[in-house]
């Protein structure tokens, strides 16, 4: 078999179980592809020795007849996941040299299932960003190109999306606090699933905003997302917000039958200045689901326009609290100190040189909205609006809506550096369609549905009911089949 790195997880699984291919062969194909793709800057810490060792163990396990669906599958891991003995620094200078003594629950679950680790993937620092431009490793590059400009793979899971789209791995892990799985998936023609809050353990995932963060799979197909979520998810006593709900067989939910399901089309997502192409794509997706027998219902989510500012207040407040731990004492970097510098100077200098500009901005805004005199006006107020945003979704689902269809992003991938002159708020507007479901804790999946006029991929997202990822994946499968998206980036790297 040639081009083994181009296989999907389900194809590789079937080939492994039939004995047509070994995990060592799959892993070597990926390691070779990674070696040749330095220009994408997707993998930032390679672990080739570990990968070969894990692949050998996976092959033994398959031979002994004890294989799980993810056994022998080579994966990329976003740098935000702590992996024991492997540099894990969330793309931040402040965690330079940090080598965790423990393993995140998600990666432990994947290794227990027999998956193979290829290395760590680029991302925005502490998952704060929508273009993968805020990284101590430098920008990750989208394998999709239309001229000589480098395009963003999206953020914050930009390295994960670039790696999956360029076939450097069979699948990758991502995290999604405000769209960081779905937006990069949309920009790279890949599938990205953000599970329900509490479905996947946050233990060992370097925190950004704890009430919004959730890890999920980034894959080449909807079926792969179902398989990989099954291996990532667990009920975990190490995470007090992990939900006590058993993990079902998500792949078994993929029947391809959505007849009679009610799909909501939220009228508030038709925002001013939205490109006609995005609107057309949305209409096409709606028709696809209708043709498959779903009932299309126009719905209203009246507080949608307040989701972005609500999200940024809450995320920045939580970030300022979570990132207080980076003080130059217990791990990572400590600034060089001058004569007479005390502990306060140590904190201030360490954090000034360790955090990048966007992270500093978010910590300071978060500090401000939590400070005496502003707490009620900003933070508490935002928590109330958040309750209203969730209520909008609750009402729609109470009316019998099974899922909601919307665009993933307001545009296709833009050029790296294109936002450099814009104020930070312009970049935040990229998350306009994705942040709502994080605020409501809901699952969402981005599926590639078409190409824009320039030939860049565009995605649509489906938003599901809480803890019904199986049904959501099934709806996504129908969309994927109807769209028949098979385009791949032409190799230039």
């Amino acid at each position: 078999m040639s081009d083994l790195n181009k296989l999907t997880v389900s194809e590789a699984r079937d080939a492994l179980h039939k004995g047509d291919v070994t995990s060592v062969e799959l892993t070597d194909a990926c390691l070779n592809a990674i070696e040749a793709a330095g220009a994408l800057n997707a993998f930032v810490h390679g672990t080739p020795d570990k990968a070969r060792q894990m692949a050998l163990a996976a092959d033994d396990r398959i031979k002994s007849g004890d294989a799980a669906p993810m056994t022998g599958i080579p994966l990329g891991i976003k740098d935000v996941f702590c992996v024991q003995g492997v540099a894990s620094q969330a793309a931040s200078r402040i965690l330079e040299g940090f080598v965790p003594e423990y393993e995140s629950t998600v990666t432990q679950n994947l290794w227990d299932a027999g998956a193979v680790m290829l290395g760590k993937l680029n991302m925005d620092e502490f998952a704060m960003g929508s273009a993968n431009e805020n990284s101590c490793y430098g920008k990750a590059i989208n394998p999709w190109k239309i001229d000589d400009r480098d395009l963003t793979p999206g953020g914050s899971s930009g390295g994960s999306a670039a790696a999956v789209a360029a076939d450097l791995c069979l699948a990758a892990t991502g995290t999604d606090t405000g769209g960081s799985i779905r937006q990069p998936a949309g920009f790279t023609g890949t599938v990205g699933l953000r599970p329900t809050y509490g479905r996947v353990s946050r233990y060992g995932v370097i925190a950004y905003a704890s009430s919004l963060d959730q890890a999920g799979p980034m894959t080449k197909s909807v079926r792969d997302a179902a398989i990989m979520l099954g291996a990532m998810a667990s009920v975990d006593e190490k995470d007090s917000t992990s939900a006590d709900i058993p993990v079902p067989d998500f792949e078994a939910a993929l029947t391809g039958d959505i007849r009679g399901k009610k799909i909501g089309i939220p009228r508030e997502y038709r925002v001013d200045g939205m490109p006609e192409e995005i609107d057309d794509l949305w209409q096409k997706g709606t028709d696809m689901l209708r043709d498959a027998g779903a009932e299309i219902v126009e719905i209203s989510l009246p507080h949608t326009k307040y989701a972005l500012p609500t999200y940024y207040i809450i995320a920045m407040a939580e970030a300022s609290s979570n990132l207080a731990r980076y003080d130059g004492v217990r791990y990572g970097r400590r600034a060089g100190l001058g004569q007479g510098d005390g502990i306060t100077e140590m904190y201030e200098k360490t954090r000034a040189e360790g955090f990048g500009p966007e992270v500093q901005r978010r910590i300071m805004i978060g500090t401000y909205v939590l400070s005496a005199g502003f707490y009620d006006a900003y933070y508490n107020h935002a928590r109330k609006v958040r309750a209203l945003i969730k209520r909008d979704f609750d009402n729609a689902y109470a009316d019998g809506i099974d899922a909601i269809l919307a665009p993933t992003t307001p545009s296709a991938a833009f050029a790296l550096g294109a936002m450099d002159t814009a104020d930070p708020v312009q970049m935040y507007l990229n998350d306009v369609f994705t942040v709502t479901l994080n605020l409501a804790g809901l699952p969402g999946i981005s599926v590639p549905v078409g190409l824009d006029r320039q030939g860049l991929p565009l995605g649509l997202q489906l938003i599901g009911r809480p803890f019904e990822e199986g049904a959501l994946l099934n709806q996504a499968l129908v969309l994927e089949r109807a769209a028949g998206f098979v385009a791949k980036p032409e190799r230039w790297w």
Binding site: V99, T196, E237, L337, I363, I365, A382
Partner: protein, 95 residues
């Protein structure tokens, strides 16, 4: 909402991030811009709405108050920029 240079200095101090005086005007402008964007929430009527504490309706888990792990000081200290004699070391705090 306009942030003055003094307020920017104060918030940087609270966040324990060193900011040079020359950088304060630009920082104040940036923070003002972001806060302006957040101002639009003021128009939402939240009368009688409880602030959200948890996004999923679940009770915080409880467990027996017992030691579940520990006894690994070397591993705890292994990533410290400065550790001595089984402790994290920091600049002198008490004179």
């Amino acid at each position: 909402m306009s942030i003055t240079e003094n307020e920017a200095r104060k918030v940087a101090k609270l966040a324990r991030i060193a900011v040079e005086d020359e950088a304060l005007p630009a920082l104040a402008r940036e923070l003002s811009g972001i806060l302006d964007f957040m101002e639009q929430l003021k128009e939402v009527d939240v009368e009688g709405v409880e602030p959200m504490t948890g996004v999923m309706p679940m009770r915080l888990k409880r467990r027996e108050d017992v030691v579940t792990t520990g006894g690994m000081p070397e591993r705890i200290l292994s990533n410290a920029p400065d550790a001595r004699e089984g402790f994290f070391a920091v600049p002198k705090v008490v004179e």
